[in-house]
Amino acid sequence: MTTLLAKRKVAGAPVVNVSRSRNPLNGLLARRWVRGTIIATPILVLLVGFLVIPLSIVLWGSVEGSKLTFSHYARIFSDETNLSVMLQTLKVGFTVTLLSLVTAYPVAYLLTQIESRALSIVTLFILVPLFTAFLIRTYAWMIILGREGPINNTLIWLGLISEPLPLLNTTFGVIVGMVHVLLPMAIFTMYSSMVHIDHNTARAAQILGAKPVQAFLRVYFPLSLPAVFSAGILIFIIAIGFYITPALLGGPRDAMITQLIVTQMTTLLNFELSFASSIVLLLMTIAILFFASLFIPLEMIWSSSSLDNTNRHGRSQYKLFINAKRAIHPALTAVENLMHFITKPFLSRRARWLWAYTILVLLFLTAPLIVVFMLSFSSSSFVVFPPPGISLQWWVKLLHASDWHESFLFSVKLGAVSAIFATIIGTMGAFWLVRTTLPIKRALFLFSLSPLMVPVIVIATALYMFEARIHLLGSFAGLVVGHVLLSVPYVVVIMAAALRGFDQSLETAAAIHGARPIQVLRLVTLPLLKPALLTAALLAFLTSFDELLVTMFMIGRQTLTLPFKFWNDIKYELNPLLSAASAFVVLLVTAAILTTLWIKVRHDRRTSASNGQ
């Protein structure tokens, strides 16, 4: 009895607490839990139910379940063809990554220096190709690299060659096509980190006597290395999962691992083997990411600002670079002096040279789209460039091609439904991830990005098997799930960034002045997040609108989506009708991007100052 009393006394303060939270709606702790659970559930269900579980099924299947046999893995690594495909994958991935980074770096560097008007124009030129379907861009390269494409025609016209060069169906073709597809991504990824580097540090170095090239190499470049590195990782893991470009621009010897898996699944019908290949691809990706995580915080690869302060990482990674630099110091000085003499005339008028270079890159990025555009007005019934005459016949044909209309409408419907779900689920998830007080916040954030880490073909195979089991395969819902899964991470990244910059005292102010939680959301939080929501929804829509691999596996007997129809027609025959359809899509994408940018600019202008406070 006495001990009981004593205990009560000791626990005096907490007792009051307990009595208070007896009313479950009002106890703050309870409310936080309830709220957290509600907003976390959708994204967790999506990721666990449609990614983790399917992947486990694939893993389980690859060893034939409880048989635990590794024969399929053995077969992959003993088969000459399979091995060479993997080597080819790594080789192409590496080359493409290197080329993209080198090409993109000066552009990203310029972007960090120019004023906002010029920035938005250049950005637009990069955004449009970025958001134009892989397929359309690859199609453009098929034309450009073709026997009667502009390159061969020009070279023949110049008299440099007499026979068209074989450019299509070569490794060269694959690499050019892939660099073109990945370049915008490389530029944006690097830019988004490099923009935080203060140019004054390099200027300070110059004042202290460093030659321009020294200032750049010793100060700016080392600071930008994490940006380059994270972009490299991103490009590499996307590149080794490529399907469309190598399949269309490469020859039989240019097959990459994704094609191998597709063949194993659809032609050889050897599921276990395809599972094993998928797991190998997945493991390769995980190994790369693990390697990357030694140097940079992983979330930096997909979003420029991370959830928490990452000073710790910053330091360790920086130390590594410093050590590396110290090792090569004498060589560096020599190279610097040499480079100073070579680059002196350029660097002194650096901006002009950078601009010239950037315009060349922009030309490289947009030229294919322009070619497609011009071809859509061709009077010829073949794909020849330049077109022999101008006519509207292909646009008229497109106007009457009911199969294209159906595909277009189906894609729009699929994209819209997926975007709505992805935006809702991703936004709720982002709220949870940013505002939760759980200590494993960062791990959860990375987990929510996992659909971006797993190669698309692996997601496609896994979902295919899983949805077949739960009888969802071939249904619209099944397709939507796949697309939502692929686009949710983008929504999370965008919304998390927006929420981190969000001034929470605005919500507090709304609450104390009488707004109920729902009113706070409706009147304050969501309106302020509008541009981010729009961007996220647009990105989700475009992800779905462009998607091919998952669609191929999940579509069943439904109407073909636009990319799938494209794919079928390209493989069957190249004709200018495809150009007209592509041109139409490019126009739509451009319009959508411009609208979003316009809304964002208008919103930012209105709210900027008070956000800055």
Partner: protein
């Protein structure tokens, strides 16, 4: 419609940190009370509990006759001005001010009329269609104030509302806030760590240190009758000399200042033999040439250590034995003392108190 506020034995723990301890405070309807204390003393935390953003770990808060600890913020009917204003950037000035009425579904005509009245009160009537980022800091401040009072809240909270303003604007807004408070007869709880703000604006000041209410009093009392050493040193400038009570003589005490000088001072509950701090404000001390005749209770001899001529007054630091005594003397054309001059400093018993 102003209401009383009562905090009863309020406690707040953050983990193992006792941030607010035993707050007992009654604020009269229409009274302007200021929480004054150093950084980290728990002012904001106390305010947050009144607003409902934090739940007290123990104790009760009454608004009028109603306990509000279990009432969510949006049902408390309290107005608040935030340090960073927290104006909604996507709404115009008028929409911002109308917000509390909108979420209460007040009819349009009434809303319009109340918004106009609130904007007129803060003299911002012609800015109604601007967005917050088109206003200066002081203007934003006024809008934040208008938004907080537009719905006739029972209580107005302000957390360092003047902190982000420059000096002139701050002086101006002080007076504006006082005018509006008197005009609407509002109950106000104001938070600041600026003693000038507190002394000028408040009916009563609650001095907080390390989560505890140290003294609650009006400006005059707080300044002249601080309850302890902390209040004396935190509010205004003061001399605090170590002393010991030798003899008690109907309320007054004969004391030994430092280790030898005799003196007299009012007592603050000390008994014979206690040691404490003799408190005296610099402006209550007279400075004269050594040996001049004075008939006050406390006289110490010393040497001028520094003399700062500040125009209306001169600030001396006089060294008397181990103690440095600050003296502020009004300048009425009398002679100044140079550094090193031997002087006497003296003060009345009534102007000094022994503090713990």
């Amino acid at each position: 419609m102003s209401t009383s506020l009562e905090m009863k034995k309020i406690q707040k723990w953050y983990g193992g940190l006792h941030v607010v301890r035993d707050f007992d405070l009654y604020v009269d309807p229409g009274e302007f009370v200021t929480f004054l204390g150093p950084s980290g003393s728990g002012k904001t935390t106390a305010l947050k509990m009144i607003a409902g953003f934090e739940q007290p770990t123990g104790g009760d808060i009454m608004l009028g006759s109603r306990s509000i600890v279990d009432v969510p913020p949006y049902e408390r009917g309290i107005g608040m001005v935030f340090q960073n204003y927290a104006l909604f950037p996507h709404m115009t000035v008028a929409e911002n001010v109308a917000f509390p009425l909108k979420v209460r579904s007040v009819a349009k005509a009434e809303t319009e009329q109340k918004v106009r009245r609130a904007l007129d009160l803060v003299k911002m009537g012609e800015y109604r269609d601007r967005f917050p980022n088109q206003l200066s800091g002081g203007q934003q401040q006024r809008i934040a104030l208008a938004r907080a009072i537009v719905f006739d809240p029972s209580l107005l909270l302000m957390d360092e509302p003047l902190g982000a303003l420059d000096r002139n604007l701050r002086e101006h807004m002080k007076i504006e806030i006082m005018r509006i408070q008197k005009e609407l007869n509002m109950t106000v709880v104001f938070v600041t760590h600026d003693q000038d703000e507190a002394l000028v604006m408040s009916d009563r000041i609650a001095v907080i240190n390390e989560g505890r209410l140290v003294q609650v009093a009006d400006s005059n009392n707080l300044y002249y009758n601080p309850k302890n050493r902390f209040v004396a040193s935190f509010v205004g400038e003061s001399n605090l000399l170590p002393c010991r009570v030798d003899q008690i003589d109907n309320g007054a005490g004969k004391v030994t200042i430092g280790d030898r000088e005799p003196g007299v001072a009012r007592l603050n509950g000390q008994s014979r033999g206690d040691s404490g701090w003799l408190f005296v404000r610099p402006e209550h001390i007279d400075i004269s040439p050594r040996g001049a005749n004075t008939d006050v209770g406390n006289v110490l001899n010393g040497v001028v250590e520094s003399a700062l001529f500040l125009g209306e007054l001169t600030r001396y630091v006089v060294r008397c034995g181990n103690e440095s005594i600050t003296v502020k003397q009004q300048n009425r054309g009398q002679a100044q003392f140079a550094n090193g001059s031997p002087v006497s400093v003296s003060w009345n018993m009534g102007n000094s108190t022994v503090l713990n």
